[in-house]
Symmetry: C2
DNA sequence: TGGCAATAGTGATATATATCATTGACTATG
DNA sequence: CATAGTCAATGATATATATCACTATTGCCA
């Protein structure tokens, strides 16, 4: 239990308005689960029961389609929630969640969560805010995919990781195929656009995993007008 | 005030759990506004202040892009809310809302709404549910646009109106350009696909506004495998 | 009623992106 | 160490859809 208490610290920091009783309730309805790289956390269509909080790691939310096209909706880092995209709106998860890196995930019974929501309006309001922000990100990302051309979409993917890592030189946590799925395109097209960016001196490809961004400004212009 | 009270009836039916005091509060923070066909209700980028409830009419939520592509995210009928897509997650509306038909809209100060949310958890939970469902619809629609080919997307648009009007013979409330924006394509491509559906006897085009669907099953197959 | 503006429809062409095929580089494993 | 297997990269080609140009139709208002 001591170990769990340590693991729940990050979660409690996010919700300073919880009473001691509510904290206890959370504590008793949490489990820490380790997921290896690539492992599925939950699958689309499964009955919803938990919400998830990332203690440490990186996960992706994906949607697969019959014509075996996969689209990466969002990539979620440390100290963020996932899994209630649809928790109140549907009985089943509407997306699949997979660990990108080895991840330590706090799983919380939704019933306990709901109990706190019924007793603590401030908590609920914050949850609603978190939920809205996340949805906004996903909607914006999807709109990006459906109305921008490739250079704009690839620029958006690069800017996403720039903001995530807060540095212009970083290593992608995922391969080209998944990057392409995040940009809503094919592996080859993504690679080609990335190569063009290199030719145009917007970025440098250090090795297949790492890149250095030379001009955030150009990427942002591409993102806006692409 | 009698008139307003009449107009608010529909809203109160949606929330049976409100106390008399809360009903009063809502009543004092509502206004009924009439919008003509095509009129803008709020624009993307405007500071948020109200949420909206449709007493009567039909509205659309759109997102415009610099490269003058417009995408219709959702079409919302009677007795539904709109405007809190981003209300808690952002300071500004992230979409533009326009009336498709002459519409009678109840505008509610968000502050009053929030006050009730803080005092009535059941109300909040219902709001969250409504919000989640709406977001799910929009996300699904956008995923549809970004991973299906045209026939599947056009089929989805037709199925949308089939479900809205609950009949296989109906008149579109919007023209071809807007239908295309709803399917995430160009006017010409939409028209062409619609013509193909006619050739394939899946639908009949009665006049430019009205169609009759002959096979919902085929449309659903197109939607799934398109 | 006539004429103008908006909308629907269709063909020809352009273009962005997907798909297929191949090669080269790196990685893991017996 | 060799070999198979995965992943990145690039060229050639195919294809879906956008765009352009034009005509037909409808509706609207003076």
């Amino acid at each position: 239990m001591k170990e769990l208490e340590k693991n729940i610290q990050l979660l409690l920091q996010v919700f300073p308005m919880l009473t001691e009783t509510e904290k206890e309730l959370l504590l008793h309805n949490c489990h820490v689960v380790e997921f290896n790289q690539g492992e599925t956390i939950f699958k689309e269509g499964t009955i919803t029961s938990h919400i998830y909080f990332i203690n440490h790691g990186l996960i992706k939310l994906v949607r697969e389609h019959k014509n075996n096209r996969t689209i990466v909706l969002d990539i979620v880092p440390d100290a963020k929630f996932f899994g209630f995209v649809s928790l109140l709106g549907a009985k089943q998860y509407d997306v699949t969640a997979k660990a990108i890196e080895q991840s330590s995930i706090l799983t919380i019974y939704f019933d306990a969560f709901k109990e706190i929501m019924l007793s603590n309006p401030q908590f609920t309001l914050q949850i609603m805010t978190v939920l809205s922000k996340q949805n906004l990100l996903i909607v914006n990302h999807l709109i990006c995919i459906s109305q921008k051309q490739l250079p704009g979409r690839v620029a958006d993917v690069l800017l996403f990781f720039y903001k995530l890592y807060e540095t212009t030189e970083f290593a992608f946590p995922i391969g080209r195929r998944e990057l392409a799925e995040f940009a809503g395109t094919s592996k080859e097209s993504f690679i080609r656009t990335l190569s063009e960016f290199k030719t145009d001196k917007i970025i440098d490809i250090l090795d297949s995993r790492s890149i250095q961004i030379h001009s955030i400004e150009i990427l942002e212009k591409l993102s806006i007008y692409g």
